[in-house]
Every structure is written in C-alpha cells, then in structure tokens.
Symmetry: C2
Subunit: 432 residues, 2 copies
Amino acid sequence: MKRTHLSKLKPGKTVMVQGWVDTIRDQKSIMFLVLRDREAKVQVTILKNKMPEIAEKLEGILTDSTLKIIGKVVAAPQVKLGGIEIIPASVEVTSSAKVAPIDEKSSVDLLMDYRWIDLRDENKRAVFQVQTEILAAMRDYFVKNKFIEIMTPKITGQGTEGGAEVFEVKYYDRKAYLTQSPQLFKQMAISSGFEKVFEIGACYRAEKSYTSRHATEFFALDVELGFVEDGHCPMNCEEEMLKYVLGRVAKNCKGLLEQLGVEIHLPTGPFPRVTLLDSYKLLEDERGYIVSKAAKGDLDPEAERLLCEISREKWNSDFIFITNFPSSARPFYVMRLNDNQKITQGFDLLYKGVEITSGGQREHRPDHLRANLVDKGMNPDDMQFYIDFFEYGCPPHGGFALGIARFVARMLDLPNVRESTFLFRGPDRISP
Amino acid sequence: MKRTHLSKLKPGKTVMVQGWVDTIRDQKSIMFLVLRDREAKVQVTILKNKMPEIAEKLEGILTDSTLKIIGKVVAAPQVKLGGIEIIPASVEVTSSAKVAPIDEKSSVDLLMDYRWIDLRDENKRAVFQVQTEILAAMRDYFVKNKFIEIMTPKITGQGTEGGAEVFEVKYYDRKAYLTQSPQLFKQMAISSGFEKVFEIGACYRAEKSYTSRHATEFFALDVELGFVEDGHCPMNCEEEMLKYVLGRVAKNCKGLLEQLGVEIHLPTGPFPRVTLLDSYKLLEDERGYIVSKAAKGDLDPEAERLLCEISREKWNSDFIFITNFPSSARPFYVMRLNDNQKITQGFDLLYKGVEITSGGQREHRPDHLRANLVDKGMNPDDMQFYIDFFEYGCPPHGGFALGIARFVARMLDLPNVRESTFLFRGPDRISP
C-alpha cells in the first residue's frame, strides 16, 4: 500500500500513513495521538478495548517516535485538526524515541550539539525550505542567462589569495590548503573563454572570528563575467539577479514567509550606488556618524547598519552598493582606476544592515598585477601561478561573491548566520 | 556603447564587439583577423593604408589576445564566415597573449598544467555547458518534488563513515577531516524531519587510485528519502529523475550534443533491476563470463561493462540496477533483509558500462546498527555520535549518491573523468 501524505487525507478512505508522534493524550479507555509529517498533522484515535493489540504497541511511546499506520479516515467534526481522524487497523512503530535531551530552555551550545533535534522546529526547518527556493532562483537566473556552472576544487596546492588564514590539509606526503573562495578559479574560467560562470560552493576561512556573521566554513555564490567595462557591469548583474530572486521567493514562499512572520520588501527602483567617500559624507550628514579610525578605507558594522537605514529612507531600497574602495583596503587583484591608482573598481553590497557581497573588476594585465603585488609588499613570484592565468590572453572581467547564510539571515531577519546554516562550523565547533 | 555579441551582428550597424583573436592573416596591404566569442566568429578586415593606427596596434599580435573593436558591420558575400565583415573604426588590445605553451601534441600532464588554455577547445568547453544543463535538470526535478536542498559541512571532527581513507585537516589546535560524502549528514536531515533532501557537493577520498574513474575530490549528487519501504523506493526516485534529466538534456542541448557527436539513448521502459546473484548468472549465460574471485560479493569492471551491454540488448536500457548486495560487501549502515542478515537493501546503478551510483535503505534502528558494527569487527562506541542521530526517533529512510563526473563522462562517451572535471584532483595533482 502506498503512503498517503497527511495533507491529502479524505474521509471515507483507507490509507497507509507514516509520520512522527507529535503529541499523546493517553486516557483510561481511549488514546489520542497526533501524527505529523512535513506538511500536516492528523489525529489518530485508539479505542483501547476495541484495539488492545494497537494499544499495547503504543504503551509508553514517546513523542518523536515514528509510526506506520493503516487505517480509515473518518469525518470527526469535533476534531480541531481538519475535522477528521484516523481509526487505525494496524500500527507499526518504525522508530522508538528516547526522551529528547534538549528543550526550549537549553543553551545555544547544547542546541547545536543536538542540531538534528533542534531542526525539528518547523520554523527552523522553514529557513531551509525558503533557502531551497532562493538557491533555485539564483541558479535559474544564471542558467537562463547562459552562464556556465563550474565546480572548482576546494583543495589546492598553491597559496590561495595571498591571505594567511587558510586551513592546511595533509595531502599524502605534502601540504595542501582549503580554498578561501573560488576567486582564482573562476577567473581562470574566464581565461578559458567560458565568458560567464557561476558556482555555489564551500569557502574556508581559518579566522578566529566569533561574530553573528562569521563561520569557518560557509557557502557562497560566486559569479564572474568576461568582457566587462568596469565595476558597474558585475553590479548590474547582481542587482538584476537579486531582484529576480526576491520576486520569486515572495511569490513562491508566501506560506513559509507568513509562518516566519517575514515580509519581503521588493525593490521598486535601482539599488543606490554610492562611493565610499560619499557614504562617509552621507553618514555624517544624515546621522552625525563618523566611521571609526580603524575602519578608514572601509566601513564598520555600525556604518553598514546606518547606511542601509538611510538607503531605505531615501531610496526605498534595502540594498545599497558602496563603490570605489581604496586600493589600500582591497586585495591586489582588484583593478584600480586608470586615472587614480589609489581607488579601485571594487564594491560591496549591503543588505538590511550587513555586507553580503564583495565584488569588482579584476586586474587582468600581468604587468599591472605584478605592480599591485609590489605595492602591497608581496613578492610577485609567489603569485606567478596565478599571474600565469593572464599571460596567454584573458578578457577584462569582473564579478562578485555573495555569502548564502548571510543573505538568507538578512532576508529572514535572523540574528545569526548559525540559524541559516544547516551545521555551523566555527573555531570551537566541528560537530555534529 | 554596449557590447554586441558576435552571433547578433547585422550588416549596416556600427557596433562595439569584444572577443579573442582566433586567426590572423597579415598581408602587405591588408590584414584579415578572425575574432571569436563564446558563440560565434567574425572576420575583421583592416586596410593598412587607410587605418595605419589600427594596423600598428595589431602588429605582431598573437592569437588568443583579446580585443575591443568599434566598427561597422558590412555585407561581404565572399566571406565564408556568415557573409559579413567588420571594418573597424577603433581597436583596443585589452589583453596581449604570449605564445601558448601547449598544443595538440602536448602530453596529458602538460595539458593539465595549463588546463585553462586546454579548456579553450570548444569541445572541451561544451562538456561543461552540457553539465550545466544536467545539474539544472537534476535540481529542478528535486525542487519540483519538494525536496529540501541541504549544504552539509565538508569539515568534520568525528570519524566519518568508518573508512580509513580520509584527508586530515589542521583545525586550529586539533585534527579534523574532510568528509567522504554527506552520507551521515543527509541521514541526519531525515532525522530532523526534512523528509526529502538533496545536495550536489564535494566529496573527498584519500585513496591512491589511478584509474579513469577515480579522483581524490569529486562532486556528487546525494539524495535521501524518509519513510521508505525498502531499497526500491530510492531506486524509483533515481530512475524517474534520470529519465527527466536525459530527456531534458536531449531536448535542450541538441546543438552541443551534435557538436560532440553524441547521441543520447532515451530509456523507453523501466530500468532493469537484477539481484547480484542473478547478474552472475546472466553474465555466465549470456557471455560465459565468471566474476573474478576477488570481486565475489561485488562486480568487477569487466562485469559492469558486460552487464550494460546485456541490458541494452535485452531491455533496450543503458542503465541497470544491481540489487541485494551481500552485507559483507556493504557498509554497516546499509539495512539488511529481515529474513536474511547476509543480504542487504543496497544497490548499485550501472550506466554504459560503469557504476555511477551506490544506494540503499539505511539501518535506522540503534540496536541493529550496533549489531552491524560488531558484525563488521568495529567498535559501536566509536560510531555513537552517528547512532545518536537515530536514538530520538528517525523514520525509515534510504537514498543514493551519483558521481557527477562519472555520469557526465558516460553520457558524453568521454574516456576519463578528468575530461568531465573542471580541475582534476588526484594523488599527484593539486594544481592549478
């Protein structure tokens, strides 16, 4: 007999259902049990005298055990749960649960130790149902626009982007590293003539960051476009993509968003694009806020928060691009302006108070790359493997990366990326 | 001025085009240059006397350099390439190529050293264009069928599936490992009530295998289904998904498949399902082939090849499921038959001569898992972190994994997974 999902039950039918024991009300002569599957719940009513075998099987059963039930669906107007109940003919306990080791009072750490039980909360699961639609919409956008999907290696033998914070892997008799991002490889794909590429994959950062927006392993959307004119080309692409994604999620995830109490504010106009210097001025003029000295050349978290507030007020946009970051605050591979080597084609995208993207046009000319490395106090020879990607011809190109967990957390107003990460990885957490 | 793609050129228009120098024919008073982008090529004609500045810029330029050209498209019936040519008004060399270090005579190893140049071959790129459609079709199938996409960690602190062949990661002050597959985590999602999940992600095997079908890093589709009845449920899911994928690729990638000289044989009936013992009999009866002693309890590569030949002949199917593998040849977590502990609900799927999938129903009952571990000579306490996933209730479940590069290589008749892998990783290869 084929399983009937609980959302499809109709009175009068004999069905086989499977699900979790949600609640149990065990009385002298009757037992009420609510069974749930992912989409719905139903009451199962056991008359103990009439069904002694079934009653015996269910004696002492705990919530979150799983059952397979064959029985008849009958109309039961008194039952609040859809006005129906199941009268079972046979019951099989497919899994016996022990008492759950966590409840709503458990510490964050204990909840993470038992993440698989924590995720049984339908609101926590809903995050990943919405995320499924977000990822699908992103990929659809790129596939429709003829991007090639690439799956780049996460293990690499060569130094990565020049940063120090990489995880080392024992690779047979030698050392390898986990990549911080597909940056170098997606640029390589442009050099291969792929023209437009995307990937959603894992990134690794061996930082000791304990914030609400950092993880040692996270998943990012990486995009790279060939034959761009400047940093605005990847911004145009990202903006168009995000508008498509937001529109689709608002449309296809209505129920889940309602369940989570989230409303998606659909952009009505272009995302504002403000240079970093203008953003400093905006912060001072509109909020009297002066970016901390330590962050000069960049933004601090409070500045990001305020700029998004201002963007919403002035331009009705949850998003705001910050452009023209100084070369001192950007990696060597970001292209600098022709007429001002101190300013780059690099940008960030802020969304609801948090940076979710870095991007820009890349420097694709080997001599300029070497000069940038020297300018950064690095040895160009150490990055020759990367400069090589551009020695045999490579179109001007640019792109961006967007952290999935950050984006999902912002969209769903979650306070921490841990909540939009299936299994969080941090400096002190590598299990389960 | 916005870029016009070379496939969209119309005589009479002034356009800006960007692309690669494909060929150069430099004569005394005239220079013919073919420019290519991802989709098309066009001839650019430079009359040296009339355009001395442009001629000077292009003097000595090598193929695979990139150009940005503004010019007029004119009808030129004598030009084989579409009957048009571009008469440039201005040319910018956006990237100057050096002489390529590889050609068609280069060794496989040298080609891999310069993979980004190797991939400029339009047939090699086409593999990834088809792969993009394959991945999109797979995900569409799962999203339409209400699976939740999960992105599971590739770094784990706990031993993985009990196998020894894992890569070790230096994780701050302790040891971590790269996961061999999302097996344990996708089962965890079932225990979380996600009911149906999928992931396309990276897997790591620290084996020293040098074959045409192994890599140390590869990408796999992983699927897990809750509330299954037996191993046939995941087989049904995989079969339906693959039929959808093949149909879509045949329809949407016509041009690319033609270019590659590949015809996709669409399945007309169900994929045959043959028990391992019956497959031995089939091999003996139909081909006089006896599986090598070493492979008893499993198949050897020659047996896989022959079974697919037989499947095509007898059932008109490129696919064949082999079922009922013995428990001795399957991991501890595969469910065994109720009435025969020596036989499991585990299966393989073969496609055009090669195993592309392992799957099965999983053992979700803690006491049975412990017994299986003891039977395998393992210590159940070492796997308690995993058994814990099932202690607090977990539906019966099953699933499968399919190696993407293997599947793509089979579909496109490529001899080696290296050719369907963007950047191959093997025991001796971690660059570029």
